[in-house]
């Protein structure tokens, strides 16, 4: 006989899960009792939101499904932000929540909340398991749905009696999951691929616009050989950074609101945009009518609903980006030289590099740039959200996929630190940095306790400007410098870290940046760096809201 809780833990292990992130509570007692002497590693976080972000960070760093666990009611509700974050960025995750016993469902029982109802719009799918007999196959389906097609979070709600009840149960030998209503298209349509190649051959100024889909389908290698073979310049979204090395000669860097001038100019002048695993998000396109106004569009995406959602597409290809790129590479027969176009793009790159004032002042960009030089493309960089995120995207040279982890779609402050913890369990061999702002870091600062207890060697570089910097920047530019509720009081983060048993260092001058970063890298355990940076530095260049992406302001330093 096996209880539901035993079936759950065994089932997780059968799915290859080694580590889960969670927080106990009343209705998950049977599950925690099972975990007590299980070989499944459980990391106790200090807030359920961190469990969800850690599972998400694990998934992004590894490409596998991340798992988090929380109790009913408040525990489950605390997962919500983390689940929504994963949903927006298509991250494979299984979230397990306890629920009041089935006999009390709908009764407003103690710590009851309708978490399947609450998470309906932010999960790929969710389940309320009412019979222990169903648990085994629900778990298999959940992992299958989370980790295939356009990936995403799946929630399983487990009433206490379902976990408690012992039944006769043997796991079926791994029969494939069959769902009538879920059959993602993997292979691209051959005729569409031919049409796309035809358009590419006709084009004079083609440009690849690659997004997070390339990372999540592990198509980086194929993308690089596509770009190299065809000689087509490439720009990536925030989520696509690392798909192609930053210093690849055809790479224009990031496009969009805080993208490079060269990338945005290239989009505007291009006559063929090849969107690969990207979704024409408003932070990328700016004013839609003026986005790629001269271009025909090829759109490769695994999710048919993304194609034509925001922008009319000439050649849609539904399929996994890796598979489609492989097929395209096999089929390429005719190639063209785009010398004039490449030269024009080189000109923009030379004329408009990303730049900031290198004047000996401790500026946030300097911290990111030095870290990039020290790590030489190694390590995993996680960010919080806001200016810290944009500066990292601009000034860290990413060379490999899955080395850049950030909340793109939802823009969740407080994401980075717990996600960095999760990334460590995916890649314990890597140096892991969370690049934070003082605002974001304080949203999940309690996880200092988790990293201290488990000696998780996450390094946090706080770009401390005592502002909610990105909001302050908008107030400066668009609200007449009326800094409404964006100034934060000074916090001694080193003292806070020490109180939790974590080492830290405050850095106040530009000269100390490299020694401080080196000290953090050389420390075996977690380490907090409190960089007291220039307070009113802005992220430039910038496309003001509602403008066309070639109408950028700022970022020219003489």
């Amino acid at each position: 006989m096996k209880t539901g809780a035993r079936i759950l833990v065994e089932g997780l292990q059968r799915e290859g899960v080694e580590t889960i992130f969670g927080y106990p509570g009343g209705v998950v007692l049977p599950i925690y009792d099972e975990l007590y002497d299980s070989s499944l590693r459980h990391i106790l976080v200090r807030h359920e939101q961190a469990a969800a972000h850690a599972a998400d960070g694990f998934a992004r760093a590894s490409g596998r499904v991340g798992v988090c666990l929380a109790t009913s009611g408040p525990g489950a509700c605390n997962l919500v932000t983390g689940i929504a974050t994963a949903y927006m960025d298509s991250v494979p995750m299984v979230a397990l929540t306890g629920q009041v016993p089935t006999s009390l469902l709908g009764n407003d029982a103690f710590q009851e909340s309708d978490i399947t109802g609450i998470t309906l719009p932010i999960t790929k799918h969710n389940y309320l398991v009412k019979r222990t007999e169903d648990l085994g196959h629900v778990l298999r389906e959940a992992f299958y749905i989370a980790g295939t097609g356009r990936k995403g979070p799946v929630l399983i709600d487990l009433p206490k009696d379902v976990s408690n009840k012992p039944i006769e149960y043997e796991f079926p030998e791994s029969e494939p999951v069959m769902l009538r209503g879920y059959q993602p298209t993997i292979r691209g349509h051959a005729k569409q691929i031919d049409k796309a190649l035809e358009l590419i051959f006709e084009a004079e100024r083609p440009l690849v616009y690659a997004g997070g889909g390339v990372i999540s389908s592990d198509a980086s290698e194929e993308l690089i050989s596509f770009v190299d073979t065809m000689g087509i310049p490439i720009t990536t979204t925030l989520m696509g950074l690392g798909a192609v090395p930053c210093d690849h000669p055809l790479n224009l860097g990031m496009l969009g609101m805080h993208g490079t001038r060269s990338a945005n100019f290239a989009v505007t002048e291009s006559d063929l945009l090849i969107a690969i695993g990207a979704r024409f998000d408003d932070r990328v396109t700016g004013k839609l009518d003026t986005f790629a106004p001269q271009a025909k569009i090829i759109h490769i995406d695994i999710d048919p609903a993304e194609i034509g959602k925001n922008k009319k597409v000439d050649v849609p290809i539904v399929g996994d980006t890796k598979s489609v790129l492989q097929d395209m590479l096999v089929k390429v027969r005719r190639k063209k030289e785009y010398d004039r176009w490449q030269a024009r793009i080189r000109g923009w790159k030379e004329k408009h590099p990303l730049t900031y004032r290198r004047d000996g002042v401790l500026r946030p960009q300097l911290v990111v740039e030095k870290l990039s030089e020290l790590l030489k493309g190694e390590g995993i960089i996680v960010s919080e959200v806001g200016q810290n995120q944009m500066w990292t995207a601009q000034y860290f040279c990413f060379r490999k996929p899955r080395t850049w982890i950030t909340s793109g779609g939802l823009g969740t402050m407080g994401y980075g630190f717990p996600a960095a913890m999760g990334a460590h369990f995916a890649r314990p061999d890597q140096v892991i940095f969370d690049i934070a702002g003082d605002g974001s870091f304080q949203m999940n600062i309690q996880e200092l306790s988790t990293v201290a207890t488990n000696n998780i060697p996450v390094k946090v570089a706080i770009l401390n400007n005592r502002f909610l910097g990105m909001v302050r920047q908008w107030q400066e530019l668009f609200h007449d410098r009326r800094y409404s509720f964006t100034e934060l009081p000074p916090v001694d983060f080193v003292k806070v870290a020490n109180a939790y048993g974590v080492e830290g260092m405050r850095v106040e001058s530009a000269d100390d940046v490299v020694p401080a970063l080196t000290a953090a890298i050389d420390t075996d355990g977690p380490f907090i760096l409190d960089f007291r940076v220039e307070r009113e530095e802005n992220v430039f260049p910038m496309v003001p809201a509602g403008a066309a992406i070639n109408e950028m302001i700022g970022g020219n330093v003489e």
């Binding site: 399947t116 109802g117 309906l120 719009p121 790929k124 799918h125 309320l128 749905i145 769902l179 009538r180 209503g181 879920y182 999710d303 048919p304 609903a305 034509g308 959602k309």
Partner: protein
């Protein structure tokens, strides 16, 4: 912008209807009418939805519906030859001394059935397409419609074709 009739085949599972309707409200689409019930396939239900939108919006609705795991097939049958029916129950003021005879006459013309009679009301049952029911309601309004319940439209393709076989 025009009315589209969508036929949606779904798993007959708890919560399916809220997944489907939630998607409409979340993405800002209005449902004009909705009817749901079991169908010829065991374990499945068919939902008939009438919604108004331009082609791009309807395409997006259908794609989003298709992404729901419990949705098996979505078909827009607006352009197909089809039969449509809706059922309405209408309780009308019909005093035996004054208007009852007239109400019953109107009912006969519309082939509505009288399914209940009260001291001062009659209740009619009428089936037909939406226009017929609208017309009947309009005519009855002068007598005083006390209550009106409509099922929402259900639809089926004409001839041997089925929604499942149609593109």
């Amino acid at each position: 912008m025009k009315a589209h009739t969508l036929s949606v085949l779904v798993e007959n599972k708890a919560g399916v209807l809220s997944r489907v309707t939630g998607l409409f409200s979340r993405r800002g689409f209005n449902i004009e009418s909705l009817a749901v019930g079991v169908c010829e396939e065991p374990g499945m239900s068919r939902i008939t939805i009438v919604c108004i939108g331009d082609d791009a919006q309807i395409e997006q609705v259908m794609k989003q519906l298709n992404k729901l795991i419990d949705v098996i097939k979505v078909s827009d049958i607006t352009e197909n030859e089809r039969v449509e029916r809706e059922l309405a129950l209408i309780k009308v003021s019909a005093d035996p001394g004054t208007s009852r005879a007239e109400v019953m006459q109107v009912a006969t013309i519309f082939r509505a059935q009288i399914i209940d009679v009260g001291s001062k009301t009659v209740t009619l049952s009428v089936t037909g397409d939406a226009e017929k029911i609208d017309a009947l309601e309009k005519l009855l309004r002068q007598y005083g419609v006390k209550e009106l319940v409509r099922t929402g439209k259900i639809a089926m393709l004409r001839g041997t074709k089925t929604v499942k076989s149609a593109k």
